[in-house]
């Protein structure tokens, strides 16, 4: 009996601890996007994107926006005698096409190295995801580092890899914390679906993680043209050529109307044709026709 009571007591303590733990479990962050979709219309020039929501109280916040990973092929330049030429083809796959990272404080203060690598949240982590193939196969360590450095430099110059600390604002809201972030979506980012990931961090660990999708789509006239170019390429090409020809001739017609007319003196003694021929040759600035 005594033993039975001991089991009940032990069980209730365990349940109590579990209940305490469940009570402390961190809820997934909520994510609100404004606008919910980036629409690239005819006069699109990037948009101001607002991200806000709630995270567990006392947690640091890290927001990452990612583009899908894709294979990219680059020409690698190298010295050939006194000149630089494309000496190799490099295929890089794995890293996200776009990576924007915003945080409430320095990323290393929020997460430990293991988590940064696991969630691919800095350059060092991106390097680990990169699969590099050259003409001759897998590169050695030195060559690999050279390609990684060049790739990251290229991405940062394009504005597709960006990191900003202290941008995410946090304010207490009930038992939770309200976070908000505003930034300009890069206008060079192509249409596609982008992942918005919010990490609530505490003591170097991710305590809660939420995900949303940000669609970037072409709408209106640009969407119509892009679809036409891909669904009816020959027709699109013909339209492009005809519009260019008409534009050229149209501008010429306008220009010739705007051009001041020359006064001509009629010489009755000479045949009209010869006078016209002379005038034409003079206006052309070259030799008269033989």
């Amino acid at each position: 009996m005594c033993g039975f009571l001991r089991y009940i007591l032990f069980g209730s303590v365990l349940l109590g601890r579990a209940g305490f733990a469940f009570g402390q479990a961190d809820a997934s962050p909520t994510i609100g996007l404004s606008p919910e979709k980036v629409e690239m219309g005819a006069f699109y020039n990037g948009v101001r994107l607002h991200i806000e929501g709630t995270v567990p109280a006392d947690a640091g916040v890290l927001v990452a926006l990612r583009g899908a990973a894709r294979d990219e092929v680059f020409n690698k330049k190298g010295r050939v005698g006194p000149i630089w030429a494309n000496t190799d083809k490099v295929q890089i796959s794995g890293p996200p096409s776009l990576l924007l990272r915003f945080s409430s404080e320095e990323v290393h203060a929020l997460l430990n190295r293991r988590n940064i690598d696991a969630y691919v949240l800095d350059e060092a982590a991106v390097r680990h995801t990169m699969r590099i193939r050259t003409k001759t196969g897998e590169p050695d360590a030195v060559y690999r580092k050279l390609i990684q450095d060049s790739y990251l430099q290229l991405k940062k110059e394009d504005g597709n890899y960006r990191k900003v600390s202290d941008r995410v604002q946090i304010a207490p809201q009930g038992g939770l914390a309200h976070y908000s972030l505003a930034f300009t979506w890069p206008k060079t980012a192509p249409p596609g679906s982008y992942q918005v990931e919010v990490y609530a961090c505490r003591n170097g660990e991710v305590v809660a993680h939420g995900t949303a999708v940000l669609p970037v789509v072409e709408v209106g006239f640009p969407a119509f043209l892009a679809n036409l170019a891909h669904s009816h390429p020959a027709g699109y090409g013909l339209i492009a050529v005809l519009m260019a020809v008409f534009a050229g001739f149209g501008i010429d017609a306008v220009a010739s109307r705007l051009r001041p007319r020359k006064r001509t003196i009629r010489l009755h003694e000479q045949p009209r044709k010869a006078v016209a021929g002379q005038a034409r040759a003079t206006s052309a600035g070259g030799e008269p026709s033989p």
Partner: protein, 344 residues
């Protein structure tokens, strides 16, 4: 009435616009201005402007494949405007133009295959880059030197045709001799055809319209008057670029109509101004400007291939290529026709 119109134009120029195929937003005024400057040179010198426009578009962030293909489309508008202006000035020799067109298109066809072979052999880019430097610096320096010499000799000497050389007498013995009255020359049809075949081949390999090579060739080898050479070259460029645009649109999906029309809006007006200014300049002066331009681009390329690049990787395609993959389209590089890879 004028003020609201000016205000509307300025507002439009300052407005951003989305390029549907390039998939990026860019300032309208910037594109029109770039087109205007290149169009001016095109009308002035009878060059398509491709050898300047494509690198400039790439510098402002347009993906290389889209820049090259859309530039070709814009050249159609510019050269159409230039051809119309030169037609009125009676500066187009249709007879030589048609022969050149056939030769140029045949050369382009072979050039595309030459590129394939060069690529298979490897280091094609290096070979083509060096070809560029040699041709541009060679043609540029020869043109400038010769034109300055003629200018020094005076107007009458400049207008006189060069005396028939040993080469000329050899050419005169070729079959299929024909009069080209507008240019005032007599040649075997084979001469302009072969020259244009060679230039067409070179331009397809090097990826430009070829005006900067064609005009000096017409003047120095076919002995055509400089103004007629300019008009006739534009005539040939118009048709070559029409064909190239169609092929780029059909196979690579890289022609951005909005981009092309904005560049064309600037370049057609620029071409008209260029054609008008060209009437106030003598042929030799035009050739000096063309020669200096070719020299400048050639030297810039020479510096470009010798200078350590800021980044050892050069992007190859941008997201236009990705979009092509998404749509299951052919993703062959536009380089076969446009040689954009040279400029990176």
């Amino acid at each position: 009435m004028t003020k609201p119109l000016l205000f509307a134009l300025l507002t439009l120029a300052a407005a951003p616009i989305l390029l549907p195929i390039a998939g990026m937003s860019i300032n309208v005024g910037l594109l029109v201005s770039v087109g205007g400057v290149i169009g001016f040179l095109s009308g002035l010198l009878g060059v398509g402007g491709g050898f300047l426009m494509t690198p400039i578009l790439m510098m402002i962030g347009i993906p290389p494949t889209v820049a090259a293909a859309s530039d070709t489309n814009a050249i159609v508008a510019t050269s159409a405007s230039g051809v119309a202006a030169h037609f009125r000035l009676n500066n187009v020799d249709l007879k030589i133009g048609c022969v050149c067109l056939i030769g140029g298109l045949s050369g382009s066809y072979f050039g595309v295959h030459v590129i394939k072979v060069l690529r298979a052999l490897g280091n094609a880019d290096l070979l083509i880059s060096l070809m560029y430097v040699v041709v541009l610096v060679g043609v540029g320096s020869f043109t400038v030197r010769d034109s300055i010499k003629k200018l020094r000799r005076g107007v009458m000497a400049a207008r006189a045709r060069p005396p028939a050389s040993h080469t000329s007498s050899l050419l005169a013995r070729l079959p299929l001799q024909m009069d080209f009255p507008r240019s005032g020359v007599r040649h075997s049809v084979l001469v302009p055809f072969a020259l244009c075949l060679l230039v067409g081949l070179m331009t397809a390999v090097m990826g430009v319209g070829g005006g900067f090579i064609m005009v000096p060739m017409m003047v120095y080898l076919l002995r055509m008057p400089a103004h007629v050479a300019v008009g006739t070259d534009l005539f040939q460029i118009l048709f070559t670029c029409m064909g190239t645009t169609l092929m780029q649109a059909a196979s690579n999906h890289t022609v951005d109509l909005v981009l092309a029309l904005l560049i064309a809006a600037g370049s057609t007006v620029g071409a008209q101004l260029g054609a008008r200014v060209s009437r106030h300049l003598r042929g030799e002066q035009l050739l000096i400007v063309l020669g200096l331009l070719a020299l400048a681009v050639g030297l810039r390329m020479a510096v470009g291939v010798a200078w350590t690049p800021s980044n050892l990787l050069a992007a190859g395609g941008g997201h236009a290529a990705l979009r092509s993959v998404t749509h299951g389209a052919v993703t062959a590089r536009a380089g076969a026709f446009t040689g954009w890879y040279l400029w990176r």
